[in-house]
């Protein structure tokens, strides 16, 4: 199984000398965005604010690769280790989301199934962070909060509001960073940017 994340705004034709494995993934992505009539086997597809994520089964061997090199430069293929982190993390987060929605869905002031779909979309982006431990909670403020810990020192709290709140752009998250439980930063921003920035912070 592979995973591909792409920007849905920059599809363009492009020919490349990339290796076959990546190429197959590109083609599967392109198939998903409608470049091909013969869509290969697609196990699952989910949509979040600015991204489309595809979870794919291996392509059928008879698929004509040469015919379809029609993809976006903006496609970001994750390497295998990143993929395994994301999938492993989602296997940890998903049951926690289910449990919270079973127990605390009374906190949510919107359609529960769409809130759960939004929460899962947010979780899939957060799953790209290599955390040690994570907790998930629905809050009485109509939000879902993810708390991630790292090396027993660093902690990241990410809160996604299901409705717009003052001072936070629609679709953005509110986050706080703690080191040794001391608060060092808070702000609101786009989740994808936050995840990229936080991964950089962890790698320093």
């Amino acid at each position: 199984m592979g995973s591909v994340i792409l920007s849905d705004s920059e599809v363009e034709l492009y020919q490349s000398d990339i290796d076959d494995d990546s190429l197959r993934k590109y083609i599967l992505v392109a198939a998903m965005v409608g470049c091909f009539s013969e869509a290969p086997k697609i196990q699952a597809a989910t949509y979040s604010a600015n991204q489309i994520e595809l979870k794919l089964q291996e392509i059928n061997g008879s698929f004509d690769i040469e015919k379809y090199i029609d993809i976006s430069k903006a496609f970001k293929i994750q390497n295998d280790s990143e993929q395994s982190v994301e999938f492993k993390n989602m296997s940890i987060i998903s049951p926690k989301i289910d449990k919270e929605f079973e127990k605390y869905s009374n906190y949510i002031e919107k359609d529960i199934s769409s809130a759960k779909a939004e929460a899962t979309g947010v979780a899939k982006v957060i799953a790209q962070i290599k955390f040690d431990k994570i907790s998930v909670e629905l809050t009485p403020s109509n939000t879902i909060k993810f708390t991630l810990t790292f090396d027993k020192e660093k902690m990241l709290m990410v809160t996604y509001p299901f409705d717009t709140i003052e001072g936070v752009n629609k679709g953005d998250v509110v986050f706080s960073v703690f080191v040794n439980r001391k608060h060092i930063a808070s702000d609101s921003m786009n989740l994808t940017d936050l995840v990229a920035g936080f991964n950089n912070f962890l790698s320093v």
Binding site: Y104, Y107, K133, I134, S135, E137, T139, P140, S141, K145, T147, L148, T149, M155, M157, E166, G167, S176, F178, R181, K182, H183, S186
Partner: protein
């Protein structure tokens, strides 16, 4: 059946009217504790040892009830809660007896301790946001300050602190308070947007990261801090 109340918690006439929390904060590891009537796994996120947000709401932190441990109050006492007239402030040299407040306390089945080290929450600054209106401009002029700002808001600095507030049946009762930049208390009665923002920011900066399900050690409160004549 009549409930028994731990008399060691009751204020004594020979106690100090009010303990100096700054002096107590100067001890090695002074600790305050709040109790939750929900089970442990509904009070804390077990995986990350963080407090669930539905246990203490941001708007509750103005006047949040806590207890100082390390004096006469022990964890086993957290099940006892003052209510009604027993919640009123105790002032020296008033003598109180439990007989008078027999119907003014309750014993909860569950009392999960939520610990805070005093140093983590006392005299701690937090930012809050205030719209650039005429009131905010007046305040800036009066204080002669030049606060940072966003496009439409000033960023002021408030202060979170803990004050000793003994009640009729619990000398070890303390509360959390928030002051604005002008050292004026922000109370729950203040319904303005900026006051709500202050509570939310104080919660985010001070409460959420510092609530603990366990503490290794906490300081014993020296008698000199609470006895009138040590």
């Amino acid at each position: 059946m009549r409930l028994k109340y731990p008399c060691c918690l009751i204020p004594k006439s020979y106690y100090k009217d009010c303990m100096d929390m700054n002096k107590i904060a100067a001890l090695k590891r002074p600790c305050v504790v709040r109790s939750s009537s929900k089970p442990f796994n509904e009070t804390f996120n077990i995986e990350t040892d963080t407090l669930r947000e539905d246990i203490i709401f941001p708007k509750e932190i103005m006047g949040l009830s806590l207890n100082l441990i390390g004096g006469k109050l022990h964890l086993r006492h957290l099940k006892y809660r003052a209510k009604g007239s027993a919640m009123k402030e105790w002032r020296k040299p008033e003598k109180t007896t439990i007989k008078k407040y027999q119907n003014s306390f309750e014993k909860t089945k569950i009392a999960v301790p939520i610990y805070f080290y005093l140093k983590d929450i006392n005299n701690k600054p937090f930012p809050y946001y205030r719209t650039k209106d005429s009131e905010a401009q007046k305040l800036i002029k009066a204080l002669n300050i030049n606060p940072p700002a966003t496009d439409d808001k000033f960023i002021f600095e408030g202060q979170c602190f803990v004050k000793h507030t003994p009640n009729k049946i619990n000398y070890w009762h303390v509360e959390m308070f928030l002051d604005d930049i002008n050292k004026a208390e922000i109370t729950p009665k203040n319904k303005s947007v900026w006051a709500r923002s202050a509570a939310t920011e104080a919660y985010k900066h001070i409460v959420s990261g510092n609530a603990r399900s366990v503490v290794e050690k906490y300081s014993i409160i020296p008698k000199a801090e609470y006895l009138e004549v040590a």
